[in-house]
């Protein structure tokens, strides 16, 4: 082929690729459609057999960490609930309206070790609720072998619950190729309990209780079911 012709063909293909990339870029934030999410108002202070325990312990805030948190998440909810038997469960929900590469949820298996916790085991599974199943990760963490803290969590990309990794990117692309920027949410439940199986059972009950106390639309947004 004539080098001039060939190079012009190459140029045209490159220009086309550049145009395609621009046209396929998602611009519409899902978070801007429909009612805004308000975690504080959405999650009730009492539900089922659980009631919120007032937190008055001293919180030490690392300014650098706080800055990162503010950059990644638009809303954060941290609460401790206790049931009649005195079993405590910590609930943390972090919500960000744009979860693409540079600003994405930090997974507990990364955050916990950074704080001095060890992740002893890590299993993906699903939480069975009467309404449906949620894919979730179950971690057992411990702080210097003194206290065991089993963690159940999942990540929402738009309306899809995932356990992280490649699934996250695929879920994002499913939105992205339609022109949407999905929002993201990390739903984490943990308790200090030496009996892992018991703890995960309590997490499941707690999650089932929460899901049946919010509206179906809200349930969809926080659990995908």
């Amino acid at each position: 082929m004539n080098p001039w012709l060939r190079n012009v063909v190459l140029l045209i293909l490159m220009l086309a690729a550049s145009g395609f990339a621009l046209a396929l870029r998602p611009t519409q934030k899902i978070a801007d459609e429909g009612p805004a999410l308000n975690l504080e108002a959405m999650i009730p202070h009492t539900f089922g057999e659980w009631r919120e325990e007032e937190q008055n312990r001293l919180q030490i805030v690392d300014p650098q960490q706080q800055q990162t948190i503010d950059r990644i998440y638009t809303q954060i909810l941290n609460r401790t609930y206790v049931n009649a038997a005195g079993y405590r469960i910590m609930l943390a929900i972090a919500y960000g309206d744009d979860q693409r590469d540079a600003m994405q949820a930090h997974y507990p298996e990364v955050c916990y070790p950074a704080q001095g916790f060890e992740v002893l085991s890590r299993k993906s599974g699903s939480i069975e609720t009467p309404i449906g199943n949620i894919p979730a990760m179950r971690l057992v963490t411990s702080l210097q072998n003194r206290r065991l803290e089993p963690v159940t969590y999942w990540v929402m990309i738009g309306d899809v619950a995932i356990t992280g990794g490649l699934y996250k990117k695929l879920a994002e692309m499913r939105y992205g190729l339609k022109g949407f920027i999905p929002d993201g949410l990390l739903f984490r439940v943990s308790s200090i309990d030496d009996d892992n199986e018991h703890a995960f059972q309590m997490h499941r009950l707690f999650i089932t209780n929460i899901l049946s106390s919010v509206s179906p639309q809200e349930r969809k947004r926080i659990s995908g079911i």
């Binding site: 080098p3 690729a17 990339a21 590469d101 990364v110 950074a114 994002e172 692309m173």
Partner: protein, 300 residues
């Protein structure tokens, strides 16, 4: 191609430049927006600050190899059968990566596209000459956060552990919780940027560049050094964390976080470079000793 090889040098040169013009224009259209985004985004962060340096070095390496590439590919046939598919793959990666914000694909595509150009313009002999600069560009591709986080954490843990053990052994009041080091009244968090995968990458890049510039004939020495760079970078990281800890302990928190933090970064690279050169000299010695021993019996 034939026109180029037959015209004499003074006439051929501007003509050749003109032929490359559409390619250069295309590259600018494709990658100028990406570069702007990178410089505004992750290349301005501590973790990926090596990106622009790697890019600059890659460009310089390509430029340096250019005459050799021209000579090697003179009169050779081009390879359109390989070049076009690679070009198309590169463009697809670019479109997906750029539109869906997958930097791995967006920036990775540049290697495919440049390789395709070389194949289409000058053929496979030219690509063989330019393999190192293209390979070197791998180090400027930002990896997905999930992968980096998963690999960085164990490394940070190990660096913190070793730094703590050594300083504790040297009778400093040290304690460690995860990646949080405590010395005296000060608490230091070993951040991603301090001991992360990126520093390992940067140092691996530095080491490979050194190998390429020094040009050993011994394959053993090349491979051994490329592998040894991993423990070397680990050691350099430990040194850096220890230096920072000691600066903080002796001169206070402000010194540790201020100018001397940057200085500790220099210490990292200097110690890594010295270690690389030191290990390389040792390998050189080992190779020579082995050769001497191999030749001795024949003399006897």
């Amino acid at each position: 191609m034939e026109i180029n090889s037959r015209t004499s040098q003074p006439k051929g040169w501007p003509n050749q430049l003109l032929v490359w013009l559409p390619i250069i224009a295309g590259l600018i259209v494709l990658y100028l927006p990406s570069l702007v985004d990178l410089f505004r985004g992750i290349w301005s962060t501590d973790q990926q600050a090596h990106g622009p340096i790697v890019l600059a070095i890659s460009c310089w390496l390509i430029y340096r190899k250019w005459p050799e590439m021209q000579r090697a590919s003179e009169g050779q046939t081009t390879s359109p059968a390989a070049g076009w598919p690679i070009f198309i793959i590169g463009l697809l990666l670019y479109v997906i990566g750029r539109s869906q914000d997958i930097l791995l694909f967006e920036i990775g595509s540049v290697i495919w596209i440049l390789a395709a150009f070389i194949l289409l313009m000058r053929g496979s002999a030219a690509l063989k000459e330019q393999w190192f600069p293209l390979f070197f560009m791998l180090f400027m591709i930002p990896l997905p956060n999930a992968i980096v986080d998963a690999l960085t954490m164990p490394m940070k843990m190990a660096v913190s552990y070793v730094a703590e053990s050594i300083l504790f052994w040297a009778n400093y009041p040290m304690a460690r919780t995860g990646v949080i080091l405590q010395i005296g009244q000060y608490k230091l968090l070993v951040a991603d940027a301090c001991a992360g995968l990126h520093t390992l990458f940067t140092l691996e890049a530095l080491g490979l560049l050194y190998l390429n510039l020094v040009r050993h004939d011994s394959l053993f020495r090349n491979v051994a050094l490329a592998i040894l760079i991993i423990p070397i970078s680990f050691t350099a990281n430990v040194i850096r964390v220890m230096v920072l800890t000691l600066i903080t302990y002796h001169y206070g928190d402000e010194a540790g976080q201020g100018f001397l933090h940057g200085f500790a970064g220099m210490v990292l690279f200097l110690s890594a470079l010295l270690l690389i050169i030191g290990v390389d000299s040792l390998l050189h010695l080992a190779v020579r000793l082995k050769r001497d021993r191999a030749t001795l019996p024949s003399r006897a």
